[in-house]
Subunit: 187 residues, 2 copies
Amino acid sequence: MKQSLGAKTILCPLPVLVVGSYDESGRPNVMTISWGGICCSDPPCAAVSVRKNRYSYGGIVKNEAFTVNVPSAAQVRQADYVGTYSGRDEDKFAAMDLTAVRSDLVNAPYVDEFPLVLECALRHTIEIGVHTQFIGEIMDVKIEADVLDENGRLDVAKLQPFIYAAGEGGYWAVGGSIGRSYAVGKK
Amino acid sequence: MKQSLGAKTILCPLPVLVVGSYDESGRPNVMTISWGGICCSDPPCAAVSVRKNRYSYGGIVKNEAFTVNVPSAAQVRQADYVGTYSGRDEDKFAAMDLTAVRSDLVNAPYVDEFPLVLECALRHTIEIGVHTQFIGEIMDVKIEADVLDENGRLDVAKLQPFIYAAGEGGYWAVGGSIGRSYAVGKK
């Protein structure tokens, strides 16, 4: 029997995405979001939702670019920190001993220590409500060699990503494989 | 050292969302997507991306509504099945022994067997490329009582959700808790 929880943003699992951008004076900044993901296959696009009052907002608008960085479970403290404090008040890269690398493809920095990075060029800006959704075309995906399998593909067990449970407030590890897409449900 | 994988939709973790809608003649249909999630806190909104050639597309446009249903790991076979086959060819509810329940709030069905449901009224339709993004306002969240904790909140360990790894193609269970948001990264 289902019961109502009201009109709320309760959804699980959601990704934990660290969004990299230059601010309006060119300094690198990062913030963590869970309102985002992939939104189109061709052109390949990622979406990230940011509130207008967030420090990252102005830089993404000005530079028309952002990166999406995926931390490993061992980096949960850094990810939560950069989602808690503002780049207005401090250099979050310095505070968390993270390294900003200038993308060759878009005007945004990525986080060297995080294993998976998407470099995105801003294509659409959607005003929804308190959040603005930025849709960026993925110009390249960069990945650490040590999270690839022997065929050069992403190895989830090596990446050790983690999820956010919206409405519950926790971060949870990703566990074991339970099947392949277009396979486990085949007739 | 990072290496390039090219301009591709490689991202992990992503949710596995079963989207419910009525087709243009009023029959319930479901499809599974991973290009979606939460995109705004106020009004609370969810986004789902659907290709124009998918059977669900016309029904969502006509009825201006959809539901987002979250299956548990034990339901991975059903979720993959409804993401593999088309409602043009068969009644996927019947094929998977799933029950369509008419939402009281929006003109879309939800899946009775799946533990977490968002009922969404279509608010924005964004043409991105091969995918159209539907943004719906969450009118209510419905949840099975047996995935709530003693305080009436979502219990992730009971929900047992699972993720999709885009670019790798696998479904993976959600494991143990690794911290609380706005807590594990506090100064």
